[in-house]
Symmetry: C3
């Protein structure tokens, strides 16, 4: 079956999801990203790889943090960036998503970075572009509903590779609200593809989706058992809007049962790393002492995230 994010030479045409993305494409992105990591330290943090290209940040759902990372990545590649907060614009004028896309595409867009509350919106856009003969325009999924957040997944893989070198002997635990997390979904697909032998999901039964076992994931509702001897801990953000919901008693309750404390971290391997996609709820899913501790690699994740996004964008623009 044809993978909609690859062109006929197997090169990346869009980045929509890590599910089904061949290992070689993932490795190529990570390798390309390493060459960009050092650019951040240079006097002049720019390369001319996308000079004169027009990148549109289409944020149908507000996310200043993610939008900022793509904006910086674009500018360091010398692209022209246009930020469109679509919630506040044409869609309120009753224009359809695909009419908006056609219009921006007619302005000679080169790339759409799409954030949308609906799962599948970036896929719909890429399909429309291909159906209407506009396949020179590239789509990057910057988070769609509960579905996927592939650049977050890739930067997590970059971070793990940076600290652990080899994926094939690791135990990785993902902790928290797995059910609503596109980050968890992207990470699980990436870890599996890269050959991680044991991926664990830890959380209360109400926040664990069905079907995890079929994806090759070991499920734990007891965090003390789940963290035993792991190499990597990926904490998930507990969404504020869930906290008052029926699925959870309270933020304090959650911290008591699933918060990553210094004591619990001691259950993992001594050199285990702690990751978090941010923004953190200190005292809800993670203790401040852990967030700021020596095993935390949360800020390096951010730094690598810029490099990974530069890699994805420059690879797409080159294909």
């Amino acid at each position: 079956m044809h993978n909609p994010q690859l062109n006929k030479n197997g090169e990346l045409q869009h980045l929509l999801t890590i599910e089904g993305l061949p290992k070689s494409n993932i490795i190529h992105i990570l390798d390309t990203a390493s060459s960009f990591v050092s650019i951040g330290d240079r006097e002049v943090k720019k390369v001319p790889l996308m000079r004169g290209k027009s990148v549109f940040n289409l944020f149908f759902e507000n996310s200043t943090r993610t939008r900022t990372t793509f904006e910086i990545a674009s500018k360091r590649l010398s692209a022209d960036v246009i930020n469109l907060n679509i919630a506040a614009s044409s869609s309120s004028k009753g224009e359809s998503l695909l009419d908006t896309i056609d219009n921006l595409s007619a302005m000679h867009a080169d790339m759409f970075v799409v954030r949308h509350a609906e799962s599948g919106a970036p896929y719909l856009i890429s399909k429309h572009l291909s159906d209407t003969g506009q396949s020179h325009v590239h789509v990057v999924n910057a988070g769609d509903g509960r579905h996927a957040h592939p650049t977050q997944g890739l930067l997590d893989m970059y971070t793990i590779r940076h600290y652990k070198k080899d994926f094939t002997n690791l135990t990785v635990a993902i902790v928290g609200d797995i059910l609503h997390s596109r980050v968890a979904r992207s990470d699980i697909h990436a870890l599996t593809t890269l050959g991680v032998p044991e991926v664990r999901a830890i959380g209360p039964r109400t926040l664990l989706p069905s079907g995890l076992e079929q994806m090759g994931v070991r499920v734990f509702t007891d965090i003390n058992k789940g963290l035993k001897d792991v190499d990597v801990i990926i904490m998930l953000r507990l969404q504020n809007e869930r906290m008052s919901g029926a699925l959870l008693p309270s933020a304090q309750e959650f911290f008591k049962s699933y918060g990553l404390t210094t004591e619990r971290l001691a259950l993992a391997k001594p050199d285990a790393i702690v990751m978090h996609p941010g923004p953190m709820n200190r005292g809800v899913e993670i203790e401040s002492a852990v967030a700021d501790g020596k095993q935390a690699v949360i800020l390096p994740q951010v730094t690598f995230g810029i490099a990974v996004r530069m890699a994805v964008m420059s690879i797409l623009a080159g294909n």
Copy 2:
């Protein structure tokens, strides 16, 4: 009488309205735009014509779409663009329009792109700049009240010339809410100046302004008669806020009487083109089959719109 948008050599100093703009200036803009159309297809879509110039997008009325076209045009000319959503800023602090202009002008602005709900605001600004010895700053009207939307009018002319070559043997119909449309007004002035022998206005009596006949326009309330043998159909957007008003029964009613359907399109010449300034209300003023059909040139209008705005801005900056 002195035309406030021309300097004493008859060159464009500001673009405020198409009314009274000499034919030679219009032709010069269209000719300059053709040289920019091809830039969109280049690997590096930039020319250095406005490098180091400061363009301020002053949007006193929100319009993401129009703001985006000017932002892209500016960036492709290598200008520095600063977006100011004025509704949300100083004017809420009680500062007057002209104080805001003086302040931005003191920051060495080179060009103001102005969108305002009040008719005449861009003219007021240009007059103030000239009265206070700041005539090196240029003003582009990006839509003022019901008055004018000259760059839309110019891109419409570019589109017609592209497909029809010669203006002097055409019949052009403008359909819909003529009364509230600055696009209609700008188009009528442009078509007349360029020598189009027959311009028609089609709409319900409540949405037709008085004085059309004096402008040389033939008025039709029956769309089936009005579309007969026309070469160009310009559909107007029906503003949401009008739909529930007293002037119109309902959107469905409007579509029944004035919507452009496949059947009605067949009344026009077989090679007639269909235009729309966007964003479209599919099923209100235009049927989807027509909007996506072979005679529609709605997306090329968008493409030409960038080139026309680049032309206007670079001509102004050069004078």
Copy 3:
């Protein structure tokens, strides 16, 4: 005691406040700014001093005007600017100020321009950066609470020096709501440091803070006495939100007692200059005839403000 805004060579590391800033640093900024004033008149208004640097405009409090001046200054220095309106973003997601700073810093930020409603926020940020080994990132205070607005103070000094040459023989009056004004505070520190022999504060008793005399300021509640023979008048903006408060009877009342009219201006020296940080409330703190009159240097203040901000940013980026 160590001055947190200077590095160990006494060079500017951050610009947090004018209080305690050595005279030599102030003079260095003003001298550097003069070299930038002429850039505004050039054909290409850009210098490559900050090419490839990433400047983040962190506005925790909305201020389009100040944000615009820093955005223009950054672009004319060829920096990449990212505007973050933080009120509307992560802080609503419950992320702490310092976590936001750490994240942006991990994206290889070079400079934070910070506007915050809380006094001391920029200092807190600079201290955190230094405590966590990130002192290569520079902080510019763009206004914090009632505390300081150092770039406004510096551009006021630039303006006074431009028109009066020598500070050591001047009488300067600051008029209006001294109590709530960070501009007044910054100006008083700057004027004192630069050797102005007489600084006056004029306002109603309810809007005069205690401790002015200890800062070497002469206090007047009668404007007619306070303006007598002054060389420089700095009018302050009366905040809308104060006008309906208990501290003041009404805007009309204020104008009657403290508004700068043509008659009152005549009490000052004949060559006195009139300054205002903007945006002005015409008819509240200043009469229109004065604001637009020959002695007003309010628009030159704006022009010099861009040059002063370019000076501050380029000096910081160079250290």
